[in-house]
């Protein structure tokens, strides 16, 4: 009788600790997503300044400058929180903005006056620092999602996940297929 009670106690204890671990890791994913948002907001705040400086020199790049403005607006759009689909959409919108900013930085290289402009150099430095922090925040998010998935997929995780309110797994941050294509150096070297 004592043995049965002891085993039952251990099972309940392990179950509770596992449940608590899932809750902790679910909250950690939320924290990591919040961390990414903080950095993305910093990037959004830098974009108008960057465009104002660029517009003074890049009169012939209106299409690109307009595209960056529109993509920024799309990336800033409020989305309901919590669903994996909305998280994936948000990542996709930010990837597009990132791509456009990358094309803008490449276009800047063709304008030596702009490239050596003091405010532009400062703006580029600020953007580079923000991009480093965004990459770090995404790595933290991926690590948190990995840990959450481990705890909800390894037995008895699948049973306890529903109790903990984890009904769908958040997506990993992954780059788009376009950014994974190897760079063709001949395009740039003429």
């Amino acid at each position: 009788m004592i043995w049965i009670a002891g085993i039952a106690f251990v099972v309940v204890l392990v179950g509770y600790l596992w449940y608590a671990m899932i809750i902790t890791r679910r909250n950690r994913v939320g924290e990591a997503l919040g961390g990414i948002d903080v950095q993305l907001n910093q990037r959004h705040d830098l974009v108008p300044n960057l465009l104002t400086i660029a517009r003074r020199f890049m009169q012939h790049e209106q299409e690109l400058l307009t595209a960056v403005t529109e993509l920024r607006t799309q990336a800033q759009a409020k989305r309901p929180e919590g669903s994996a689909k909305n998280i994936a959409e948000k990542f996709a919108a930010e990837e597009k903005l990132e791509g456009a900013l990358g094309r803008l930085m490449v276009a800047v290289e063709a304008y030596p006056d702009l490239q050596s402009d003091g405010p532009m150099i400062e703006a580029q430095r600020g953007l580079q620092e923000v991009e480093t922090n965004i990459a770090a925040a995404r790595r933290f998010y991926n690590a948190s999602v990995g840990e959450l998935r481990n705890s909800t997929q390894i037995f008895p995780g699948p049973f306890l996940a529903r109790l903990a309110g984890v009904t769908e797994e958040p997506p990993f941050f992954e780059t788009t297929a376009e950014t994974r294509v190897p760079i063709d150096a001949s395009k740039y070297l003429g």
Partner: protein, 330 residues
């Protein structure tokens, strides 16, 4: 130094000295006035030591004899034991006679010669060590528990625009009547060009149980899980800011950090980062910056070449540490 329009700072590493073929005589000629003065100081030190030996050696032998005599009182005389104690007394007398003066001469030699040698490598100088915050490094798990600290030598200056300070340190711990050495090596403090959020401690991996226990002992920091399996197998990282730690510990950083342990003569490095300071701890057996003894001539080219090599060794390590930091900004 103004930056070119690309925004990248040109690399200016220190220049290694010329090949050692005639380096010894070159250094002897260059430092001739200093070595001449030091030879005079050595002469005075020898005279003082000899006069002290005349007093302390016989005193030491007599002390040993008396100790053995009273120890054996009432028993048959043990000549071997008596000779042993007299010999120990002589050794004790020798150290009493030579120790303080020898130590003063060594520091004098280092303070005169090493600043000149260090300046050959760029904006560097030598000074008697200013102690880093050992207690903080111990609490963060970068240095082992210790009860005694010995630091003599420090190289300070600027390397590639970064303020650096390298201290040679020896730590020991007393357990009962015995003192055991727990660390010997270099502690390099490097000023970073930008601040890091929070603190980061890169400590040895302690296995599952060791890591589990360590994570409970730490206040205000948590484990940073990283993607590089080779790095994770060797190190554990603790930080107070998950994003800030990952902003510094990029895959390139981890790879270069692992490569530092392949430096000849050095063991696995550890690091602690706070604000705009990175402290690299490099365990290394053996001693650096050893001047010639008072028994040997001050004008010793081979000793000068070795001192120069020692400076080159420590700056090479800091160069590698700076490469690690630059990899996060490439």
């Amino acid at each position: 130094m103004s930056e070119p329009s690309t925004g990248r700072v040109p690399e200016i590493a220190y220049e290694a000295p010329a090949a050692p073929v005639d380096r010894a005589s070159l250094l002897e000629r260059r430092l001739a006035p200093i070595l001449t003065e030091l030879e005079q100081v050595r002469g005075e030190a020898r005279a003082q030591i000899f006069s002290r030996l005349v007093l302390f050696l016989p005193l030491g032998v007599a002390g040993g004899f008396l100790f053995a005599f009273f120890d054996q009182k009432g028993e048959a005389t043990n000549v071997g034991s008596m000779l042993f104690h007299m010999g120990m007394g002589a050794v004790f007398g020798w150290f009493l006679a030579t120790g303080p003066i020898s130590s003063r001469y060594r520091m004098n030699y280092k303070n005169r010669v090493l600043p000149v040698l260090a300046a050959d490598f760029g904006d560097f100088t030598y000074r008697e060590a200013q102690y880093p915050d050992f207690e903080r490094l111990r609490r963060e798990g970068i240095l082992p528990n210790h009860s005694r600290v010995a630091c003599e030598d420090e190289i300070v200056g600027r390397l590639r625009g970064h303020a650096v300070s390298i201290v040679e340190a020896k730590l020991s711990i007393r357990s009962g009547k015995r003192t055991r050495e727990v660390f010997r090596g270099l502690i390099a403090t490097i000023e970073l060009p930008r601040s890091v959020n929070g603190t980061i401690a890169i400590v040895p991996d302690g296995g599952s149980i060791g890591n589990f226990a360590d994570s409970f002992m730490r206040r205000g920091s948590e484990r940073i899980a990283l993607e590089d399996p080779r790095f994770e197998a060797v190190y554990e990282v603790y930080g107070s800011d998950q994003v800030g730690a990952r902003a510094l510990l990029t895959p390139a950083f981890m790879e270069r950090f692992l490569a530092i342990k392949d430096k000849p003569g050095f063991q696995r490095p550890l690091a602690f980062v706070e604000a705009n300071r990175m402290v690299f701890v490099m365990p290394r057996p053996g001693q650096l910056f050893q001047p010639p003894s008072w028994r040997d001539p001050a004008r010793d080219g081979a000793a000068l070449v070795q001192l120069e090599r020692d400076i080159d060794t420590v700056l090479d390590v800091v160069d590698a540490a700076l490469d690690v930091d630059r990899s996060t900004r490439a």
